[in-house]
């Protein structure tokens, strides 16, 4: 028998996860990137103070000329088409990215957990019906389906969020169902029933906690890709209203300037490189963190 130390098991667990995260430079990089963006999102009003009386998410303009202007002391990232302030848009766009990413992932994970655990736990006809419904959603390419929903709901950020929830819950339901099927075959589920636990209690206390780690990994990987999909929708003109701080839209505004001026192909580099780099770092940060979590939480690698 192993020596049992007095430290609380939860603290021990967290310490162990932290030790694994710390041991890999890539994980640390991911963590650093995410912390960086989180700070930007929290301190957006300080970093780019909004002008009073307007929606803080709307980018301020320096005139109405269509031609973007390069970075200057006045607008440190320069301006994009329509003289929108790039710096302001990128800072407040971090908030938009977080809002979409977290909202979509949380909501679709929640729906996925409910549907997946009911299907996996009760099996049989219930499972069959729920999984065929899931299949219908999975049968369409998710971007196309999301586009169709946004068009149906009307163009706004809220309909983008809703559309993305509708297309992403099925993969969570699938994942959870598979894990639940695996866990319900274990004796301890039978044992919990034999003690007199109700189905609800068995699912919430014994089944779900044993299935949640793969979900955490998938969710963290998803936050990045959801933001990317939202950006794609914005780029296609289906997202936020014009002038809203949203990375996808900022890149979309640079569409006419990517080819540059005659004889100078990189004349307007700042209009697409800067928002592109931010979007890239954000997605990469979540991917690195997701990978790190997978390594840290993988039961095969960690059970000593």
């Amino acid at each position: 028998m192993r020596l049992i130390d007095s430290e609380s098991p939860r603290i021990k667990e967290l310490k162990f996860i932290w030790k694994r995260l710390r041991s890999s430079p890539l994980s640390l990089a991911g963590l650093a990137i995410i912390i960086f963006f989180t700070l930007i999102a929290i301190f957006a009003p300080v970093l780019a103070p909004p002008r009073g009386g307007r929606d803080p998410y709307m980018m301020p303009r320096f005139g109405f000329s269509p031609t973007p202007r390069p970075p200057s002391p006045e607008a440190i990232f320069g301006t994009t088409e329509g003289q929108y302030d790039l710096y302001y848009g990128i800072i407040w766009g971090t908030r938009t990215a977080y809002r979409i990413g977290l909202l979509v992932v949380l909501a679709s994970a929640l729906v996925g957990i409910v549907i997946g655990s009911i299907a996996g736990y009760y099996k049989g006809v219930i499972d069959e019906v729920l999984m065929r419904i899931t299949d219908i959603f999975l049968a369409f390419p998710s971007l196309i389906l999301a586009m169709a929903f946004v068009v149906a709901f009307g163009r706004s950020l809220d309909s983008v969020t809703l559309a993305l929830i509708i297309v992403s819950w099925p993969s969570y339901a699938r994942l959870i169902r598979g894990e639940v099927l695996k866990v319900t075959a274990e004796d301890f589920v039978e044992a919990a029933k034999a003690v007199g636990c109700s189905d609800f209690r068995v699912i919430v206390k014994h089944v779900l906690p044993n299935t949640i780690f793969p979900l955490l990994v998938m969710a963290s990987l998803d936050i990045g890709s959801i933001v990317l999909t939202a950006a794609a929708l914005s780029f296609l003109g289906l997202g936020a209203p014009t002038g809203y701080s949203d990375w996808g839209q900022i890149i979309s505004l640079s569409r006419n300037w990517i080819t540059g001026a005659p004889g100078n192909p990189f004349a307007y580099w700042h209009t697409y490189i800067i928002p592109g780099v931010f979007l890239f770092l954000f997605v990469m940060g979540w991917n690195l963190l997701g990978d790190a979590l997978r390594d840290a939480l993988d039961p095969m690698m960690r059970r000593r």
Binding site: P9, V195, G196, N210
Partner: protein, 365 residues
């Protein structure tokens, strides 16, 4: 239909039929099985793998594993109130009150029967708080004055934290009970083990914890499904000894499932022999060993390895239960097979006092 139990009986399984609907066909796992459990006794059920022992046990708790379905028969059980019920006809709400409180179960694989995410203490507390919550609340109330100090003094007035505080007190109250229980299980240093996770304990220790969970609410019937099969022999002896003593202390009737005749001889008062879903012989333990009647029981006893004599096995294999043999299911392997064994199923008949056998060699019109 006899829907009554004898005075001495605690539980009776009558003509139980359980079938599994699989892709290969319908598996007739239990076919008209009859058993009874006398108050205070230990009934051993022996049989090979696939003879329907475990399915019968799970069905007694109305937990027949899917895709299994109970297709007939009844399981009469005398509840703590004295009322006799048919477990197969009860609704889920009543069953939740019976499982763990009046009938509980010890599993074969202690490592798998414990949830890896909770401490041993939490898992025993679950059983206690499911069925003895009122009692624990009483104990928690006494602790309240002592525990409400520091931050809790303020926090306990806020509705959410009030609930947390109650949970904390309940756990604390249960803890005393749990340590007592662990001590009964002869676990050294229970104050430390209560905070251990299952994977930190040895198989023998884990099995003691599983037994503690099963006995936490002093059930009237304990189903033990090969609880010592995966333990090494010295630990096995300790666990058997423990079960025997706890049975006296908790005044529990035990159904002990095993394929080990040695364990049966050691522990049980009566034995039921199962073969391919049928109960083929029931008799007091002494009688089974001295005077086995069914050819299968004889073969089973002959196959116990003895030093010096050659190892004997039963010829043939356990039949496929999708297409079981006609008549007596043992007939293809039986050395006394007659024509009527192929045609008809022999009923379970009492040949001498308390000795039942299902074989045409011994009566059966």
């Amino acid at each position: 239909m006899n829907s009554m139990l004898d005075n001495a009986e605690k539980l009776r399984v009558k003509d139980l039929i359980v079938r599994f609907y699989t892709y290969e066909g319908i598996v007739k796992a239990v076919e008209k099985a009859n058993l009874n459990l006398i108050k205070g006794e230990t009934l051993g059920i022996v049989g090979e793998t696939g003879s329907g022992k475990s399915v019968t046990a799970l069905t007694i708790m109305a937990l027949t594993p899917p895709p299994g379905k109970v297709e007939g028969g009844s399981i009469l059980f005398q509840r703590a109130t004295g009322e006799v019920v048919d477990i197969l006809k009860l609704n889920e709400a009543v069953l939740l009150k019976i499982r763990g409180k009046e009938i509980s179960m010890i599993f074969q694989e202690p490592n798998a029967a414990l949830d890896p995410l909770y401490t041993v203490g939490d898992q025993i507390a679950e059983a206690l708080l499911t069925h003895r919550r009122a009692e624990m609340l009483e104990a928690a109330r006494e602790l309240e004055a002592v525990e409400s100090r520091g931050l809790w003094k303020i926090l306990k007035n806020i509705p959410y934290f009030r609930e947390r505080f109650k949970e904390k007190l309940l756990k604390k109250a249960a803890q005393k009970e749990i340590i007592e229980l662990l001590r009964l299980m002869e676990i050294p240093d229970p104050e430390r083990i209560i905070n251990a996770y299952p994977h930190e304990l040895s198989g023998g220790m884990q099995q003691r914890i599983v037994i503690a969970i099963a006995l936490a609410c002093s059930p009237a019937v304990l189903l033990a499904d090969e609880p010592t099969t995966n333990l090494d022999v010295t630990v096995q002896a300790q666990i058997l000894d423990l079960i025997r003593r706890l049975k006296e202390r908790f005044k529990t009737s035990v159904i002990y499932i095993t394929h080990d005749m040695g364990v049966i001889a050691e522990l049980s008062d009566r034995v039921a022999v199962m073969y391919a879903g049928n109960v083929v012989e029931v008799a007091p333990t002494r009688e089974i060993f001295k005077n086995p009647l069914h050819p299968y029981t004889k073969a089973l006893l002959d196959s116990i390895p003895r030093p010096g004599s050659p190892f004997k096995s039963i010829p043939g294999i356990v039949p496929n239960l999708v297409n079981p043999p006609s008549g007596c299911r043992f007939h293809p392997r039986c050395s006394y097979v007659m024509d009527r064994c192929i045609e008809g199923t022999p009923p379970l008949i009492e040949v001498s006092k308390g000795h039942y056998v299902a074989c045409f060699l011994h009566g059966g019109a």
